[in-house]
């Protein structure tokens, strides 16, 4: 657990350093994600608890957004008179993009006959 957490922090730190060094638009943790992925694919040994530690953090991913969410409530006056229009646009826009993304994905997977989620009785 301790070693695994240290690995996660080291990779994030490396990511942050690479971002500063290369002026990359990506956040450091996303680079860290890529580094850990390469590490796993290369099958370089990792502390045993890495998988459990990662699962443990991700299980409560929602918790980690709470402080930022509270910050947003404080900033709501920034929206001013446009708040309702802004909220309506967000709702319509996300409904359209959620539907378009999922339908594109599912339709192409079905066309390629790789949609493993199909219940039994359907061809793979």
């Amino acid at each position: 657990m301790l070693h695994a957490f240290a690995i996660l922090l080291c990779l994030q730190l490396t990511g942050e350093a690479l971002v500063r060094a290369t002026d990359s638009p990506l956040p450091g943790p996303v680079i860290g994600l890529a580094l850990l992925f390469v590490w796993l694919v290369a099958r370089i040994p990792l502390p045993q608890a890495t998988h459990e530690t990662a699962d443990g953090i991700l299980k409560h991913l929602s918790l980690l957004f709470v402080p930022a969410g509270v910050g947003v409530v404080q900033q709501l006056p920034l929206l001013g008179a446009e708040g309702w229009k802004l909220a309506a646009i967000i709702l319509v826009s996300i409904a359209l993009s959620l539907a378009a993304t999922a339908i594109t994905f599912a339709a192409i997977a079905k066309f390629m006959q790789i949609d493993s989620e199909a219940p039994e009785g359907k061809r793979r």
Partner: protein, 239 residues
């Protein structure tokens, strides 16, 4: 007798109080969410945020005081993002198999997310600063705020729009996908992560580990694509 004013002065000055309130608030919200059978409206982020905000107002606590404690939780977003590599690696065979649908859905979803928001804002006559905040709304907060700076928008307002997008997407994704009769959990998770970044990914992990994995991939890919597309599409959409 304990002097409650002294006790309050002491506690409110230390990070321990607000760290504890954040954790306890989330545990209660998560229990409510579980008791509601993980109903999408009982979103644990939304419940905790409302609860803590009410406590802050009632106790007249300023946000910087709150954040002095809550920052320890906020900080974990970094290692959690790195940790997303683990489920990604674990589901690598499915991810490889779904490569073509994923890339197609990424391009379609990212373009629709940006253009629909900007065109609706233009149609409803929104101010320039609000329109600019809407453009990168589906990227993860750190990327969206960087894009906002680049296009001369307001990063703070952008962060508000990003979190609103995250929470509302996490709430509507399940009923919307059910209404569309989509049973492909890779597709459902991918859409949740693409549109609602980390908060959508958290929701997807709550529903199904495969959905969570694809949400995590979409969060990363769409963060990058939004950073590329917004500066390219914006002059054209606003012109």
């Amino acid at each position: 007798m304990i002097d409650f004013v002294d006790l309050w002065v002491y506690l409110s000055g230390s990070p321990l109080l607000w760290l504890t309130v954040t954790l306890a608030g989330y545990i209660a919200a998560d229990a409510i969410s579980a008791a509601c059978g993980r109903h999408p409206l009982a979103n644990p982020v939304l419940i905790s945020v409302v609860f803590i905000s009410v406590v802050l107002v009632l106790s007249k606590t300023a946000f910087p005081n709150y954040f002095a404690g809550a920052q320890f939780i906020h900080f974990l977003l970094g290692p959690a993002t790195v940790a997303l590599a683990v489920p990604l690696y674990r589901h690598l065979p499915e991810v490889k198999r779904m490569f073509v649908p994923m890339i197609a859905a990424l391009i379609v979803g990212s373009i629709i997310s940006i253009t629909s928001a900007v065109l609706l804002a233009k149609w409803l006559g929104l101010s320039k600063v609000a329109t600019l905040a809407l453009a990168p709304k589906s990227a993860t907060a750190a990327i969206a705020m960087g894009v906002a700076e680049q296009i001369q928008g307001n990063p703070a307002l952008t962060a508000v729009v990003v979190i609103m997008t995250g929470i509302s997407g996490a709430i509507i994704v399940t009923p919307l996908m059910n209404a569309l009769r989509l049973k492909n959990y890779a597709a459902r998770g991918f859409a949740a992560g693409l549109v609602s970044h980390g908060i959508g990914t958290a929701r997807a992990f709550q529903v199904n580990p495969l959905a969570g994995t694809f949400a995590g991939i979409a969060l990363g890919l769409n963060g990058v694509l939004t950073a590329i597309l917004v500066p390219l599409l914006l002059p054209w959409l606003l012109g």
